[in-house]
Every structure is written in structure tokens, then in C-alpha cells.
Amino acid sequence: MNQIIQLSATELAAKLRAGEITSVAAVQAHLDRIAEVDGGERGIHAFLHVNTEEALAVAAEVDAIRAAGGTDAQALHPFAGVPIAIKDLIVTKGQPTTAASKMLEGWMSPYDATVIEKIRAAKLPMLGKTNLDEFAMGSSTEHSAYGPTRNPWDLDRIPGGSGGGSAAAVAAFEAPLALGTDTGGSIRQPGAVTGTVGVKPTYGGVSRYGAIAMASSLDQIGPVTRTVLDSAYLHELIGGHDAADSTSLNEPVPALIAAAEQGASGDMTGVRVGVIKELQGEGYEAGVQERFDESLEALRAAGAEIVEVSCPNFKYALGAYYLIMPSEVSSNLAKFDGVRFGTRVLPAEGPLTIERVMGATRAAGFGDEVKRRIILGTYALSAGYYDAYYGSAQKVRTLIQRDFDAAFEQADVLISPTSPTVAFELGSKTDDPLAMYLNDVATIPANMAGIPGITVPGGLSEGLPVGIQFLAPAREDARLYRAGAALEKLLEDKWGGRLLDQAPELSAATTGGVA
């Protein structure tokens, strides 16, 4: 494997600034890796679009500025020239955006998402757009209309979802950084099952403008990386107030890099870590529980005070989520009707009215999971059911927030396994929606309450990664980076290196890609 692609983003950025390597070389190394492991018969298939020319052009521009030196070079963002992959739910000018749906096949956005404007301004070359469950609905990336993504740890297993493409790209060294979106765990659960780091920021911490909405009151864009410090850098880059998003927090991004650097000492003295009683035990695999207990031990040994907290209303969280999310989905996805953009499908027979064209377009353009959620949401909002369903779910949301408020009286951060299981086999749950939904049982409460969460690698179970989740109060994202970086340091010391160093070697031979 080319050594450049094994560097963390922070390491790569340092070498770029020092002039040890060029951004063009870094981008080319990642493009080569993508060619080698992404596209073959058994390729990772993390990318739906590879943005070769533009990425190289931006890299060349950064190299030229650095070579010229002076104030322009000094004004560059520290990560200028470090390539990044973008979840294909985030709109980009000049690259197609599909949301992994047939509905948007070939659609070109005439505008950039706010986070993309920030990435362009910081001159991070965009490698391309990553695969996901259609419109971010799923926990395995098997609901992509363009085929599933494979888990780099085991090509017959899922990479999690919906952001399986971003997580797999980072885990497979196809990109050092990626953007994801997290509505019920779509950054954190893929992070857990691919052995990578992922952060869901506080709701409103990162602008949603340009992220194709799934459930507006739950969605957040966040970083997907291989190290906690890399996430801190990316989070500070994409975060902050945006006047185009009415739910954007009007306050500065917290000092996340500093928090990650503080945590990297491994010292947890005085930090109270709350173990959520309801997010362990039944339904959690034994191997997952073992790694979780080891993490707790490591934190305790590093000076953390481990306390147990109870969140009794979490048992309603999944149900409430599956009312609020589809309700918002049913409305957010109404715009996909074949009138202004995207696919238009004419009815096979009968009169050609717009009503029937919309019906045929949405029948052909949406996959089963999307339809299921639209119908469920339409039901939950319909007259006569609103109070019992949507109204009740919003009340449960209040109860979950109260549980968190009480828990954060006792603890600075909360901790749980990120996902109850390790990566499962492709196809094993596609016919059982409920079983699929249970993957997000530990990640959903944070979205319901708007609080931030991080997943960091917690070791292996049966050779597959286990994720450890920290949660913090709203606006206290810095605590996640402190605790996450500490656990990362403690466990890597124990493993004698990064978890991903233990991943099987991928090559053109294993994936059927281009050598």
C-alpha cells in the first residue's frame, strides 16, 4: 500500500505544509487506490462518482500557492490540499448528486451546499461522491439504487448505513476524510462497523443547507475520519453559523481541536463517564459488550469516574423515531415528482395526467424502503392519527431530553456501544425492516434530543470492529473530542497501533479492481 494513503489527514496536512509531498501526489495516490479497490467485481463500491479532474486541479492550485509562498500560502487552511470524499446526499455543483436514488439519476445541482462552499474555500480537493442507502434510509447501504458498498474488513459484510460509502472509503484508505450525515446514526453506526471515527455534531452546529433532507429535525452533517483529531479539524472547518439554515446555532464553533489534543494525553482524571443502563445487555452481542467493558476499564484506569445512569424513556425512542422520521420523510420527499428536476416516468397505460405521471415517477424512482417510510409517515400524519402518533412521538422526545438532562447532572459524558452488533452479512436483514431498524437503537436517542455523539474504534469481535459511543450535552461537542481522543490513545497503546492496521490487506487481487 502507498504510504501516503495510510497517513491521517493531520499527518498528511503536515507533510503538505512542510513541502515533503505535493497535494497532486496525495490526490493521485487516493485516486489510484480508488481504482484498485473500489470498482472491481468485489470492490468496496464506496464511490458513486469519482471527481478526478477537479480534485487534481484543486490540488495543483494548492501546490502552486504553497510553491509561491508568501501571504497567500500562509492564508491557506491547514488542511488545504488534503483530499475528502462527500456523501452523495450533499449537493455539489459540477458533480452529480443522486442520493443513491434512481429519482435523481443524472441530476446536477445548480448550487453548492454550505459545507461544500466551506470545503472549496479551504481548498480540500473533493475525490467524489460516496454511496449511501437511498435518501439515507437504511443501516447497511444495501438500499442504494446503485448497488451496495462492501465492508473493507469483510467484503461479504455491510459497511453500516446510511453512510456506508463514506465510512468504507475512509476505512479502505480511499480517502483520509469524508462527510456524512446522521439522522438516526448514519455517521456513527457505519463508523462503528468499519473501525473508523464519526461524529454527529449538536443539532444546528453544522449547516444543513444543501444536505438533501431526510428528517429535518434530526439530520446533521458531520465528519468521518480515521482519527479523533482529524474529525476535530474537519468539524471546525464545516461548523458554524449559516444564515441559510434557520436552525443553525448562532454561536462560534467550540474549540474542538484543542479538546482532542488535550484528550490525546490519555488522562481522564476528574471526568465523570456515565454508563447508560438501558443501552447494553439484551440485544447487544457478547463480543460487543466485552469490548465495551474493556473500554470502561481503560477509562477508569486513566482516572475517569465511572457512574451508572438510567434513561428509562429510551425504550420508547426507537418507536418515536420511527414516527417522527417517516413523517418528515413523507413531506420532505414530496418534491420528487418529476416536474422540475430528476426522473420523469410516464404511466404505462391510461390517461396522461400530471397526477398519474407523479404516481408513476414516484413508483419507479423510489426503492422499497423509501416507499415504506413515506407511507408510514403519511399514515402517522393523517387526520385522526396525528395525536396518537406524531403528537405522542414529539412528547416522547421531551421525555428523552429530560432523561438526558438528568443523566448529565451525574456525568460529563455518557458512554455506550455505538451499535449492538458487528457488521452483519450482506442480504441477511434486507427482508426484515424491524431487525434493520434495531441497528440504530443506541444512536437514535442523540438525534431525538439534538445532542452530539462520537464513535471511536473499540476493538474487534470475531475479527470485526466494535464502536464505542460517547454522548455530550448540546453545544458541548468539545467533551466528545476530549473523551474520544483519550479512549483512542488508551486503546491504541494497548493494541500497539491503530485498529485499522489489523484490517485485511485489500488489493486489486481481492477486489477485482485495476492493479
Binding site: 428536476f341 415504506r372 399514515y379 393523517s382 396518537a388 421531551t398
Partner: protein
């Protein structure tokens, strides 16, 4: 809470403007039934005196000043249109001819 019937699903599909075959309706009815049953506990959990949370982070009065900003050109507006005439989007008849 009543179970979800095939007629319910057909009606919902119509409201949602998604054409569904009979087979699809049958499958969807079964799946939705299971899901609806599993989420039924939510209404039991929520008592009357609990306020609803519509937005996870409470903000208010987020406004924009009344100042004109950049617009799309007609070309950009129509670049993805499935069908158009001059600078307008073209859609099939709204009402059935007969």
C-alpha cells in the same frame, strides 16, 4: 390503535402519489402492520401533561432582512427540467381530458 388494512395502505399510497401494484400493496400492508404494532407503545408513554418537542434545540425569531439576493438564471432554473417550453416547465394536463 387499529391495525392497518390493505385499503388504508392503498389510500395512503394515493395521498403520497405512489402508484402501487396489488402485490406491492399486499407486501406493504404486512410490513407496515408489523412496524405500526411495534411503535404503538409510544402513545402509551406520552401523557397529556408532557409538552411536545418539535425542534431539538429551542431557537426563535430567526429572520432574514428583506434584501434581494442572487437568483438563478432561467437556464440554471431549467437545466434539470424533464420537459420545458421556452423558460417554463412543461407538465402534462392537470385534469383528465374526459
Amino acid at each position: 390503535m387499529s391495525a392497518i388494512s390493505r385499503e388504508d395502505v392503498a389510500h395512503l399510497a394515493q395521498l403520497a402519489h405512489i402508484e402501487m401494484s396489488d402485490a406491492e400493496l399486499d407486501k406493504m400492508t404486512g410490513e407496515l402492520g408489523v412496524i405500526v404494532e411495534s411503535i404503538a407503545s409510544v402513545s402509551e408513554a406520552a401523557s397529556a401533561d408532557v409538552p411536545a418537542t418539535t425542534h431539538p434545540i429551542a431557537l426563535s425569531n430567526v429572520f432574514r432582512e428583506d434584501v434581494v439576493g442572487p437568483t438563478l438564471t432561467a437556464e440554471e432554473a431549467l437545466m434539470n427540467a424533464p420537459d420545458s417550453v421556452d423558460t417554463r416547465f412543461k407538465v402534462p394536463a392537470i385534469l383528465d381530458g374526459e
